[in-house]
């Protein structure tokens, strides 16, 4: 059974019709697939059919440990969205529900390699010297969450020092507990700084700078 209905597949095909460059969707699953691992892999494979610029690559988290380490993948299911270069854009857990929009957005932006951020943000990111890890916790039923995910991914595309993950809280309850996630979106920056809710770009930038001061 296909995950994407005919109607949705056509819509996605249109959305991805003018990709600016090739994009690889690298999926990590395992031999005996967890429920969401199987669905994540299938989702990526189905999307890859909808554009000749897209390819799906499937790896085994255990057997292909080196590949996982190379891409910084530490849990599954995982998708790395890679364009001309690896912009450190990751999805942990299945990007379904509202997060499907984040996935399509990531594919389009990675294809172009050009983040849609203000000049002020781009300048601040360019001046950074310390690595930043942004983890955006979401649920698939959260309409506010894609705003935060897209923003974090844009920042990763803009700066080689930023890596940005969507983390689906329901699939990684241990992380939700670790980071005290009781509401989404919740963005964790470098383990030290938190943003509640879908904050606008300049607020996220301020929090990022705050996190760097603590480093």
């Amino acid at each position: 059974m296909a995950l994407l209905s005919q109607e949705i597949a056509e819509h996605v095909e249109q959305e991805l019709a003018d990709l600016a460059g090739p994009v690889r969707m690298v999926v990590f699953t395992q031999e005996v697939e967890c429920e969401f691992c199987a669905e994540t892999r299938q989702l990526v494979e189905e999307i890859a059919q909808l554009s000749d610029k897209l390819t799906a690559e499937v790896y085994d988290f255990v057997a292909d440990k080196e590949k996982a380490e190379e891409l910084g993948v530490d849990k599954i299911p995982a998708i790395a969205i890679i364009g001309q270069e690896d912009y450190r854009v990751r999805f942990y857990g299945i990007p379904s529900g509202y997060e499907f929009a984040s996935l399509l957005h990531a594919i389009r932006t990675v294809a172009a390699g050009k983040p849609e951020l203000s000049e002020e943000t781009l300048k601040a990111l360019a001046e950074m010297t310390v690595p930043v890890h942004m983890q955006v916790f979401v649920t698939p039923t959260c309409p506010y969450c894609p705003t935060s995910v897209v923003l974090a991914h844009q920042m990763a595309i803009a700066s080689p020092l930023v890596r940005a993950d969507m983390v689906e809280a329901m699939e990684f309850p241990q992380l939700a507990i670790k980071y005290q996630v009781m509401g989404v979106p919740r963005t964790v920056i470098n383990e030290t700084t938190y943003i509640e809710g879908a904050a606008p770009e300049h607020t996220v930038l301020e929090k990022l700078q705050e996190a760097l001061k603590q480093a």
Binding site: T139, T141, P143, T147, Q180, G183, G197, E201
Partner: protein
């Protein structure tokens, strides 16, 4: 994308909910250059609604997000440009009117204010401190985190019951705290709520404080009839005590009523020529997608007429 310094739009629409998007469809069809500043939640409040069962033309119902996306696609189809940015400032005192976002300044001959309404907060101790850590206004977003726990829902309207019913999928018990002895919600919600064994009601009571150390441990309520205080133990508090209009930026530039709603006439004109308003920001009376859409259409038709009368000549 940086804005062209000399670009002046025919119409800038503030807000990307049903009112703003319907206005964009009409303005686009009238071949007016149109920009929509959607804010952080494209589609507006309806995008957070699970199922819209009362929008004509969708007999099986339609998810709020899908309805919003279809409206966006329709607006885009007729040429409206959409920018996902919140408005940070406006100058509506003289034409061309200017609208600022954090990144850009836009100029326009007419403006439609369709910024909607946002959930009202309780304004009690503990609420701000625990927001996002036990206090929420989005059950569909955060319900999962209360699996097997007890939660409090504050309010007695449609949203309180609809979201409360959603929470029963996860929570062990949903305690609805309401300030009156009967609900305001539509009959269909009331029947569903009373029939649900996980829902319990605390009548005639207001929340006075949200309690907890690191996370929420409960709420302190007071019975408005007896004055008696009590503590309800709970891990989460979902607040649905009505809405407040998103009109703060317009105060002093167009007339607002005591509650902050933008005052309009029957044709959606505000107190200032060339500035129109539509949707929940100008009326607390209905809060229906179809009503917002209708007022958006009227505002756009009037903006088009204004442009034809005042500007095109």
């Amino acid at each position: 994308m940086k804005e062209q310094a000399d670009q002046v739009y025919d119409l800038v629409i503030l807000g990307g909910g049903p009112a703003g998007l319907t206005a964009a469809v009409y303005a686009g069809r009238a071949a007016r250059s149109t920009l929509v500043l959607t804010g952080p939640l494209p589609g507006g409040q309806v995008a957070t609604t699970q199922m819209v069962e009362n929008f004509p033309g969708f007999p099986e119902g339609i998810s709020g997000m899908e309805l919003a996306q279809r409206m966006q696609a329709q607006a885009g189809h007729f040429g409206a440009r959409m920018v996902v940015e919140p408005v940070t400032g406006v100058d509506l005192t003289h034409a061309p009117f200017t609208v600022q976002t954090h990144c850009d300044t836009y100029r326009s001959r007419t403006v439609i204010i369709a910024t909607g309404a946002v959930p009202r907060r309780l304004g009690v101790p503990g609420e701000a401190r625990f927001f996002g850590r036990g206090v929420s206004t989005c059950a569909t977003c955060d319900g999962f985190f209360y699996k097997g726990k007890r939660v409090v829902v504050v309010g007695g309207g449609d949203s309180a019951l609809d979201e409360g019913l959603f929470l029963t999928r996860f929570a062990r018990e949903v305690v609805v705290v309401h300030r009156r002895d009967q609900l305001r919600a539509a009959r269909v919600y009331q029947e569903r709520a009373f029939a649900n064994p996980k829902m319990r009601f605390v009548w005639d009571s207001v929340v006075e404080e949200i309690l907890g150390e690191q996370t929420v441990s409960g709420v302190r309520v007071r019975n408005v009839k007896t004055g008696e205080a009590a503590v309800i133990e709970a891990n989460g508090v979902f607040v649905y005590v009505g809405m407040t209009p998103g009109s703060r930026l317009f105060a002093g530039q167009v007339e607002l009523d005591e509650q902050g709603y933008v005052v309009t006439d029957r044709r959606q004109h505000t107190s200032r020529p060339g500035i129109f308003a539509a949707g929940d920001v100008q009326s607390p009376d209905f809060r229906q997608v179809v009503v917002a859409a209708a007022s958006g259409a009227m505002a756009a038709l009037e903006a088009d007429r204004f442009l034809a009368d005042e500007v095109d000549r």
